[in-house]
């Protein structure tokens, strides 16, 4: 079965778009993150329900008009988000 990804609960995050970058405070870790697109969009897409990488790509394409979405690049972004603790693998 494909790995599922889920974002930290919205209650545990404060998300402030600052300019092209988005500042995110993670209450659970007390850490501040400054993120460029598509990381904030990925977090948003994984909020409602856990998704695997293929389903996430489909959702990002639909929600954000991503025409050149690349599965390898998305996997790399997901790894980074898991590293920060903002996304967990299930």
């Amino acid at each position: 079965m494909a790995t599922l990804y889920r974002a930290a609960s919205p209650d545990s995050l404060i998300v402030v778009p600052v300019d092209l970058l988005t500042a995110i405070y993670h209450r659970a870790s007390g850490q501040t993150h400054l993120m460029a697109s598509p990381a904030p969009e990925i977090l948003e897409a994984l909020t409602e329900a856990p998704l695997d990488a293929a389903a996430l790509l489909v959702k990002l394409r639909a929600d954000y008009d991503l025409v050149d979405a690349d599965p390898a690049a998305l996997a790399a972004r997901l790894d980074e988000l898991v590293e920060t603790g903002l996304v967990e693998r299930r």
């Binding site: 404060i14 402030v16 600052v18 300019d19 092209l20 500042a23 405070y25 209450r27 007390g30 400054l34």
Partner: protein
């Protein structure tokens, strides 16, 4: 402690105890126009003490102590006792302040709006703030600007202005005010303290809405560039000593500040150019 002095600087009360009379006498003279802490209760306590009993008298060495201490702090000679007191008071703020987000920045006010200047040591934020004080601005502080997470306002912390090296001569000719003794050969070079003007001390409890954040850099041809809010955010988290300690309150206060307040970086070849650049930017807001 044998000798004690207390003072309110902006919203913060200090109590300084010392094994020696000298540093307390200097503080009493230079902070003569400042009020005492409200209800006599100090927020922070500072101690200047001899690390060995005989060091009170023989080649006296001043150790810095207080509510918060740095274990590696080296003692200073008694001639530099005033510097030791100022450093110790700054240290209490840097390590212990929890009510305000502490920005390592100078700040001046005009028409109820605050100009906040930050940058690396030697960028001239202290000198620029002191010079602006002589040109009709109210000095809010040369070292720390206090951002109130509850209101988004900047509170003043107008301690003695700490002039270093070349800045001493610049201000001696620009300001008619009261100076402390010239402290030569300190770990930071030559230092001389300047007392903020009467108006800055009298208005020290009046906060101001931040209107411009400035990153000055000395030593280049005059130039001005915009600084993106995200860059300001990163720089100010680095310029804050208690951002992590304030947690969510710090994050919310700082993101609000950088989103709402324009920011510019200026390069300046000399202080007159810097003043002109600041005035031009302020007029364009």
């Amino acid at each position: 402690m044998r000798h004690v002095f207390s003072v309110a600087i902006g919203p913060v009360g200090f109590r300084v105890g010392s094994d020696w009379r000298g540093p307390i006498a200097a503080l009493e003279q230079l902070y003569a126009s400042y009020p005492k802490p409200q209800d006599g209760i100090a927020d922070f306590t500072v101690r200047l003490f001899a690390d060995r009993p005989w060091r009170r008298l023989f080649r006296p060495k001043v150790m810095i102590g207080g509510d918060f201490v740095l274990p590696e702090a080296a003692p200073l000679s008694l001639e530099h006792g005033l510097l030791a007191a100022e450093m110790a008071m700054n240290l209490q703020m840097a390590l212990g302040q929890r009510r305000y987000l502490l920005l390592h920045a100078s700040a001046v006010e005009r028409d109820g709006k605050a100009l906040v200047m930050t940058g690396l040591s030697g960028a001239g934020k202290s000198t620029l703030a002191a010079l602006l004080m002589t040109r009709g601005w109210r000095l809010m502080g040369d070292e720390f600007a206090l951002l109130d997470p509850a209101t988004g306002l900047i509170h003043a912390f107008p301690r003695l202005i700490s002039l270093k090296n070349e800045a001493i001569a610049v201000m001696e000719s620009a300001a008619p005010g009261m100076f402390g003794p010239l402290l030569a050969d300190t770990p930071k070079g030559a230092i001389r303290h300047l007392v903020p003007d009467t108006r800055s001390v009298a208005a020290m409890l009046e906060p101001a809405r931040p209107a411009l954040i400035l990153f000055p850099t000395f030593g280049h041809d005059a130039a001005t560039r915009e600084v993106a809010p995200s860059e300001v955010f990163v720089r100010l988290t680095q310029a804050s000593t208690n951002y992590v300690a304030l947690a969510e309150r710090g994050f919310t206060a700082l993101t609000q500040l950088v989103v709402e307040t324009p920011a510019r970086a200026i390069d300046y070849p000399d202080t007159e150019s810097a003043i002109a650049q600041v005035e031009a930017l302020w007029a364009s807001l």
